[in-house]
């Protein structure tokens, strides 16, 4: 079969990324031809500033060398500007007469710099700052001339000014607004930025309006003249006052344009369905994006349609700006200026060069502007995007997500200050150098890319802010554009909430039914979505949906904890951490009999037998004769207690008994993630109730109940929920909270993250304000737990496939 012809006009980052996506999914569908107006292969435009500053070379910023086009059989016309397209005969024509016919056309002409319409704009030495040619002109000018004037104090202008200064020129920045980067910064942070740049040697003319550029006899610029008549000398003028979508060609051939080439959600032009457009030239739902991440998202969607898969729609992106200006950290998002009806929280330390402003409206974060310390930018952006209510964290908001015991990366919050050998990701042992190398060599642009390639930030996520900073420094510009909803995994576009809702509303009882009902892309999911769906089914429809052991992680399939050498650990349940000499004797005997190499006391007041062979599991459970500790499961793990009023001279309540009662009432409870309780008998809190999913503290007049604490990656102090009088009430409230979490939490979401997501107010409403609802929750939990088997002893009922404990056959 003859291949179809795809012609791409424009050879920039968004367009070439689209081709890469297309080649991945349909490598043989098209003969591809690319026209590029510049004489260069695709390069990283964002990194022109480091080239100008002498930190990188042009070769280093090339993303796709000529050989890439050759290897993929792409015909490349470099330095040929396309001037006309015959849509009727489907022919593209370049300036030099080159013609190519097409079946599908992709227009990726990007954007043009805006040139001020002032007299003298065409003089020699007056340039924009957009491409390699401009950059080379500046580098060359710096060797011959002294005075540079940059018109425009936005990101691009400041980067140009910085680069020229580093190359030895005296640089003045002319800016019409009263402060720098007024679209990203408020007056205070703009002032801080100006001060910092001035101290490096840049000069600024604020509120200055350019009237004309004056030339010398040879036709080269020599001065800039302002509206008030004053002049300053200029041998080089760089215009950096903004960009406009480049729609010249599209308009000429009659495509509908309105601040960009108007495209649909499939990235097709609305005028001609054979013609697609992505990148800075395309206007999607009225927005022409100028940041890399949304453009790559567009490319991905466009590629699926070019590949004739007919799936995927681009629904727009929310963007924040996190900018690198000559080594200064800036972040802004949303409505950072505030105003009518808004409240502001401001932290200002001009001497230390740190300024943070958060804008709040109707108890939600609507804008943020950070200068000097941007490590929490991504957290604020997430709060802003999610529209989360702030009342319960408002007092901590300004201090950031990292102020409460962030571990794993040496307390660093400034990526730039780290050495290459410093560890960024403590979970996966990834250094700063490794992350930067991967970003450079593999051409990564998004957090997801970095996670996939390096594993940095892919486990606990506490270093996400650092990784984002590295992306910014290394790949340049922006990176953070978040899809409006988060898909469960690569097998689907549906979110956790949507899956739960469908399971509930359509009463789905089996995993395959979910896949069918929700059009899963894979036949049986993956190791990430299948355990989640299995949990959603059995938690939504207890006693009806059937548990599928093959959709559970190995620990919940073999009811023991797999260790690094493939052996298992066995942790029997000790109610409330209380044991007897008989139990200890049986544990000791079993340890001897099965040659257990290590016996350890756990943090949850249990005894851990480590290094048990899988073949021995069933026998050791039987010999020990104690209930399963579920130490391997997303379930109630332990109830840690102190000795309480029975023995302790300070004890006010019988914490040990309450702990045992709670544990007996709720053991065998599967949940989205592991669940830990603690009960302390007095405010000295020896059981550490403040960092548990549910922590109870006895006081003289009753019990205080705390929820959603966590002693893990981020130490999170539990929130006070309610004070109760009796132990019975404690059990009911605890059960109700657990059931709420079981019904609403996403799989692998701990209570702390669940409560952070839905807000403490929501939990209070459900548990405290609605007595009937609370009782109903507690009853639903009791119904689910009633008759639940102990998987160590009731194999049939617990669906334990005992075949797994022995090899199927042995070869000698």
């Amino acid at each position: 079969m003859k291949k179809m012809k795809l012609v791409m006009v424009g050879n920039g980052m968004a367009g070439v990324r689209t081709l890469e996506e297309l080649l991945k999914i349909a490598p043989d569908l098209y003969d591809i031809t690319v026209f590029g107006a510049e004489p260069h292969p695709n390069y990283n435009r964002i990194l022109l500033s480091p080239v100008l500053a002498g930190e990188q070379t042009l070769e280093e910023i090339v993303l796709n060398p000529i050989s890439w086009y050759e290897e993929n059989g792409i015909k490349l016309h470099l330095g040929k500007k396309v001037v006309d397209i015959d849509r009727r005969h489907r022919i593209v024509r370049a300036e030099d007469g080159t013609e190519e016919s097409y079946d599908r056309l992709l227009i990726t002409t990007g954007s043009n710099p805006f040139i001020l319409p002032v007299p003298g704009k065409d003089l020699e030495g007056v340039i924009a700052y957009r491409d390699i040619a401009d950059t080379n002109t500046m580098i060359e000018a710096a060797t011959k001339y002294k005075h540079a004037v940059v018109i425009g104090g936005g990101l691009l202008g400041l980067e140009a000014a910085n680069g020229l200064m580093l190359r030895g020129m005296q640089v003045s920045v002319v800016h019409v607004a009263p402060w720098l980067m007024e679209r990203q910064l408020d007056e205070t942070s703009g002032g801080l930025l100006r001060k910092s740049l001035e101290s490096r040697g840049l000069k600024f003319l604020m509120g200055a309006s350019t009237q004309a550029l004056i030339g010398d006899k040879g036709g080269r610029v020599m001065a800039v003249q302002f509206k008030d008549g004053t002049e300053i000398p200029a041998d080089l003028v760089v215009m950096a006052v903004g960009i406009r979508p480049n729609t010249e060609l599209a308009e000429k051939i009659g495509l509908h344009c309105n601040r960009g080439i108007v495209v649909s959600d499939t990235m097709q032009t609305i005028t001609d369905p054979r013609i697609y457009s992505v990148g800075e030239c395309a206007a999607h739902r009225g927005i022409a994006y100028g940041l890399v991440a949304p453009l790559f998202e567009q490319g991905k969607v466009c590629a699926t349609h070019l590949a004739e898969f007919g799936i995927g729609r681009y629904l727009g992106s929310q963007t924040s700006t996190k900018l690198k200006v000559t080594g200064i950290d800036l972040f802004s998002a949303g409505d950072f200026m505030g105003g009518e009806g808004c409240e502001e929280i401001v932290m200002s330390d001009p001497y230390g060069g740190v300024y943070k402003k958060l804008v709040i409206k109707d108890d939600q974060l609507v804008g943020a502007c950070l200068y000097g310390d941007t490590v929490d930018g991504s957290w604020y952006f997430k709060l802003l995007r999610d529209g989360r209510k702030l009342n319960d964290i408002r007092d901590k908001l300004m201090f950031g997500e990292s102020n409460i015991g962030d571990t794993g990366h040496q307390g660093q919050n400034k990526a730039a200050a780290m050495a290459d050998s410093d560890e960024v990701c403590g979970c996966n042992g990834v250094t700063k150098g490794a992350v930067c190398k991967a970003i450079k060599e593999k051409g990564l642009f998004t957090l997801e890319d970095v996670r996939k390639q390096t594993k940095a930030s892919a486990s606990c996520g506490s270093c996400t802010g650092l990784v984002e900073q590295l992306l910014m420094f290394t790949a340049g510009g922006d990176y953070s554009a978040a899809p409006k909803k988060k898909a469960m995994c690569g097998c689907t576009d549906h979110s956790h909430d949507e899956v739960r809702q469908v399971i509930r509303e359509r009463k789905l009882l089996a995993i395959d039914d979910v896949y069918k009902a929700m059009a899963w892309r894979t036949p049986n999911g993956c190791s990430s979505c299948r355990p989640a769906i299995n949990y959603y089914l059995i938690s939504t429809w207890p006693k009806e949906a059937k548990d599928d052991p093959q959709s559970r992680f190995i620990n919940e399939r073999s009811h023991a904890n797999i260790q690094r050498d493939g052996t298992y650990s066995v942790i029997p349940r000790m109610w409330g951490g209380v044991t007897t000499s008989d139990e200890l004797r049986r544990i000791a005997d079993a340890a001897d009999k099965y040659k257990v190499p290590t016996i350890k006391v756990t943090g949850g007041q249990r005894i851990d037998l480590l290094g048990v062979k899988k073949e021995d599991l069933v026998d050791i459970w039987k010999d020990i004769g104690m209930p399963s500790g579920h130490a391997y499961a997303k379930a109630l793990r332990t109830v840690k207690t102190c000795v309480g009023s029975e023995w302790c001279r300070f004890g006010t309540q019988d914490s040990t008994k309450l702990g045992m009662d709670l544990e007996r009432a709720m053991w065998r409870m599967y949940a989205p993630h592991k669940v830990k309780f603690a009960v302390s008998g007095c405010p000295r809190n020896c059981a550490e109730s403040g960092i548990k999913d549910v922590g109870i503290i006895g006081v003289d007049s009753g019990w205080e109940m705390y929820i959603a604490g966590n002693g893990g990656i981020k130490t999170e102090v539990a929130h006070f929920l309610v004070k109760l009088k009796t132990a019975e009430e404690v059990i009911e409230y605890t059960g109700a909270f657990c059931q709420l979490y079981r019904e609403e939490g996403w799989y692998l979401e701990r209570t702390v993250h669940y409560v952070n997501r839905v807000g403490l107010d929501h939990v209070k409403k459900k548990i405290l304000d609605d007595a009937e609802g609370r009782k109903a929750l507690w009853e639903r939990l009791q119904f689910a737990l009633d008759g639940e088997p102990d998987p160590w002893f009731e194999f049939d009922k617990a669906a334990v496939d005992t075949r797994q404990f022995a090899p199927v056959t042995a070869i000698s």
């Binding site: 190791s527 199927v808 042995a810």
Partner: protein, 127 residues
């Protein structure tokens, strides 16, 4: 004598699950069955840090290692990008409902692998 050794029946392996074939003194071989009743056999040892693949979650034609969630292709034993590395694969023959492996392969392939993985530095990405 035929080289093909009957290991078990297809139904002895759970759907989307696996069983182990023990090899005296050497790393076991894992036999997998997917949802289309295709049977695969790999050395029971992840190329990353030696995790027992037989204990992983099977999906499509892949298995996720239980230790660090690397995805290993059942058809070729190789890690899916961005991870890299392969484990030994073994030829599977289906005779009716009988699963057969080559005795020769079982007795000669991947015998040098230590049963317990050596302690390796944290992560390839750190190199």
């Amino acid at each position: 004598m035929s080289d093909w050794k009957t290991i078990c029946k297809v139904d002895d392996i759970p759907v989307l699950g696996s069983r182990r074939v023990a090899r005296d003194g050497h790393t076991a071989v894992a036999v997998f069955r997917n949802s289309e009743n295709k049977v695969f056999a790999l050395l029971d040892r992840c190329p990353h840090k030696g995790g027992p693949l037989s204990q992983g979650i099977v999906f499509g034609e892949s298995v996720a290692c239980p230790l660090h969630n690397w995805t290993i292709g059942l058809d070729d034993g190789c890690a899916r990008a961005p991870d890299a590395g392969c484990t030994q694969k073994f030829t599977v023959k289906l005779d009716g409902d009988q699963v057969q492996l080559s005795l020769n392969e079982l007795k000669t392939l991947a015998l040098g692998e230590p049963d317990v993985p050596a302690d390796t530095p944290a992560q390839a990405g750190a190199a």
